[in-house]
């Protein structure tokens, strides 16, 4: 007891110096040789899995509670609406399968291999990255569902982003709006190629390296081009919302509003087909 009360001694200089030097060494390694640190990080991510699971538990249990407490009338209503929707979807699907068959025939004529319907995995968003400066979300599927780094993630409106880390039961997805994210796109009307990068703002993307003279209109849709073999071609990325042409600059400043619900989506689809990525954009001039 007494020893504890009077134990507030000045801390030892030696351990302090050693700790600071260790920190600096680790920082240096992280800065210069991140590949040395990466395996340790991956192992520890797996070890942290219970913590992430625990953190996402309240979110998931709220979902579960919502499901449990729905009234019968509500369920019936939902059921009717869904049946109607299903019917519509099936009718559309018939047309789609027809088109898809036709497309395959035509492609057979052109001799290009292409799979239209790849396998997809539906996943649930269970968290966001703790770093407020990054736009990264966590989903509840991982290497146990054969997910791999680099796969494209969509929602019902358009492209959301890509997988950057895979753990056994979760993956981290970098959204289009992350500052470090870019993808290659083409414009709807002209088929012109461009690059869309994130700005750090969920509601805005910027289109870069488009010459001032280019024919870009507000409201034009922007699709992924499949160049770079990373994102599959032909999925909606967003809509051009603002075009700024300064005579002084070489490139126009173009803003794009993302089509996917980056801020609020709850379910996402991870795409497995990468054969589309091999396809060149079908630019019609």
């Amino acid at each position: 007891m007494q020893t504890q009360l009077f134990s507030r001694q000045p801390p030892s200089f030696r351990s302090f110096i050693i700790a600071v030097i260790t920190c600096l060494v680790v920082l240096f390694f992280n800065w210069r040789m991140p590949h040395v640190i990466q395996p340790a990080r991956d192992v520890l991510y797996a070890a942290y899995n219970p913590i992430y699971a625990l953190a996402s538990y309240p979110v998931l249990s709220r979902e579960w509670l919502n499901q449990q407490t729905k009234s019968e009338a509500q369920l019936r209503r939902e059921n009717t609406a869904m049946q109607a929707e299903l019917l519509q979807a099936q009718v559309r699907l018939q047309k789609l399968s027809e088109l898809s068959a036709e497309n395959t025939r035509l492609r057979g004529l052109l001799d290009t291999p292409l799979i239209i319907d790849g396998r997809m995995e539906i996943a649930e968003v269970i968290g966001t990255d703790a770093d407020p400066l990054r736009h990264i979300i966590v989903i509840n599927r991982g290497s146990s569902s054969q997910l791999k780094v680099g796969q494209t993630v969509l929602d019902d409106k358009g492209i959301m982003g890509q997988i950057i880390n895979v753990n056994s039961h979760s993956s981290r997805i970098m959204l289009l709006s992350d500052k470090e994210h870019s993808l290659s796109v083409r414009l709807e009307h002209t088929g012109m190629r461009a690059i869309v990068s994130g700005t750090g703002d969920l509601g805005h993307l910027k289109m870069e390296y488009v010459p001032t003279s280019a024919n870009v209109k507000v409201g034009e849709k922007v699709y992924s081009s499949g160049l770079g073999a990373h994102f599959p071609a032909g999925y909606l990325v967003g809509t051009v919302s603002k075009v700024n042409r300064h005579n002084s600059g070489e490139f126009a400043q173009i803003e794009v509003i993302p089509a996917a619900q980056l801020a609020g989506g709850h379910h996402v689809v991870v795409l497995f087909s990468d054969s589309l990525a091999m396809e060149q954009p079908h630019a019609t001039r």
Partner: protein
């Protein structure tokens, strides 16, 4: 009366409490929040580290700060060693400046926690600028206020295990 109470309380072994509190804080650190709110997330791990370092100096010292710092870096995917460096520096400076004090009251700890959060935010700000990371300045300082409010709650929950 007070002394007797003090003695009864300090006989507890804080090891379990330390481990459980670190796990609990790491859950709070990664608890999913919306983008707007997550900028104001209090620095739970820093406050916890400070509490143990100030209130259990025989158990937790520089190396406890180092370990929690590395743990936080890995948890948050921050540059490895950034939080650790900040935690170690803060621990040393705080311990050095309070070496003459026998007992720290809650008021003292609260003021210290405010200064520590300020110092930590400043340090990470400098390190992030050096590392070439860009971000919005207003978001960076939001945890100051929330941490100030969270510290009393944390203190009264863990008070049982302090010296």
């Amino acid at each position: 009366m007070r002394l007797a109470k003090l003695r009864a309380e300090t006989n507890r072994d804080p090891l379990i409490a330390i481990i459980v509190s670190v796990i609990f804080c790491s859950v709070l650190m990664v608890y999913p929040l919306s983008y707007a709110v997550s900028g104001a997330r209090p620095l739970f791990m820093l406050l916890l580290m400070l509490f143990w370092v100030m209130c259990q100096p025989t158990w937790c010292g520089i190396w406890f700060a180092f370990a929690t710092g590395i743990f936080t870096d890995l948890l948050l995917d921050a540059p490895l060693g950034m939080n650790a460096l900040s935690f170690v520096l803060i621990t040393f400076i705080v311990r050095f400046l309070t070496r003459e004090r026998r007992i720290l009251t809650f008021g003292n700890l609260w003021v210290i926690s405010f200064l520590v959060v300020l110092a930590h935010l400043f340090l990470t700000w400098v390190l992030q600028i050096m590392g070439g990371l860009q971000f919005s300045i207003t978001r960076h300082w939001q945890p100051l206020l929330t941490s100030l409010l969270v510290f009393p709650v944390m203190y009264f929950m863990l008070k049982k295990w302090r010296i």
